[in-house]
Amino acid sequence: MTSKRLGRWTVHFPGSPRLVSAASVVGPKEGEGPLHSYFDAIELDPMRGEMCPEAAERRFMEDACSRAIQQLALTSEDIDIFLGGDLLNQVITAGFTARSLQIPFIGLYSACATFGAALALAATLVDSDWVTTALVAASSHYQTAERQFRYPIELNVQRKPTNQWTVTGAGAAVIAKQGQGPKVTHATIGRVVDYGLKDTNDMGCTMAPAAADTFLRHLADTGRTPGDYDLILTGDLAAYGSKMFRHLVKEAGIGLGNKHQDAGQLIFSPQQKVGAGGSGCACVAVVGLGYVLKQMAAGRWHRVLLLPTGALFSPVTHLQGESIPCVAHAIVIEG
């Protein structure tokens, strides 16, 4: 049996699992952002007519999942496994969405890197023929995230320039071998990196070392350089974190050229008063599935490295004075 491992940390998928469908559904603020024309649906009511934001977030994930399935003219009966996650305690958005979908389900948590974990696992399962079709999804919601990680929405706190704005929305995709769509060719699962930072108002700079670590190990394993990619898309490092990421990669002797962009910086414009940029599980999911895949389909980019980043802390560990452990996963998508 030939090994599908490449180098020390990377797997490659010779069976060519493909992203055969993709859907992105976002809220009104994202719909006013520079990428508005790339999303499949923009919902003008972030509460989706629900009484609580948690229920609203579920509506976003359910919509994204149904859209991804319907694009293939399939029903949830035809999907073998659902891998999804979100930021909320006990991964409730994905769990409750799985209740509606009735697809065998595993809930995942890698904070804002959850979409990367789901994509890597789905590609692994499909490539090895354990499943023929896998649904992946990730969501976040400004109001649910604020409530869980920060303060009540109406509280008198001043946002700092390094604060990021949690993206409201969800992205979902179906991975299968049969069908049309870009291939998932490699995945490098990240290890947890902690540089001792504790400031929850600056998640970008906190996560940058994890992104750099996974990225450098991915390059070492595959023998590639940034030049082999048309785009290297980090998840939600935002303005300050992206600067740190480029610095750390440069320090390791690797030039990124103009290949690096960050989903958190792409999704909002500076005029939208979001601080350093966007964040949340949905950030890289909707930018990746909306903007990047459509640009790839249009022929602008051929090979893209997704690098979703996540901070694995909770408000409890933060109050207990712990630093913030972070993780990033790298996934290669090829047109």
Partner: protein, 153 residues
Amino acid sequence: MDGKAIDAQQRYQKLVKDNAPKPKVGRNLWRAFLVGGALGVIGHFLYGLFEAIEPTKGESTATTLASLIFIGAVLTALGVYDSIAQWGGAGAAVPITGFANTIVSAAMEFRREGLILGLGSRMFVIAGPVLVYGTVAGFLTGLAKVAIMNLLH
């Protein structure tokens, strides 16, 4: 962790600190002064009104504070107070209207988890420490006053 790794961490922490955006202290100060000052002027104006109606000074003060709390609560419910605070910073957070905001915003936030275990138990989630340490500070000040008075006699 080996020395090299610790060194890399410390260098990175310093780099992040050096690259952090500097807070605009001057701008924040005059904005806080304007917002806090405006709230003070409104309070003083209300006090003038109540002085004419209420029998004692104490009662005028109490009515003024209650009115300011009411104003803070209404502005929070209308979704305006957090915008005032985003602009005015401590000028909006420190006055009693800001205290009203902490309670009302938390009450609004947790209303959906029920009136008892949601709203009732969590409305003091931000204001609680202010009440606890306000009471403690009041008690210690009282003790200090008694001690000093006894020393003087």
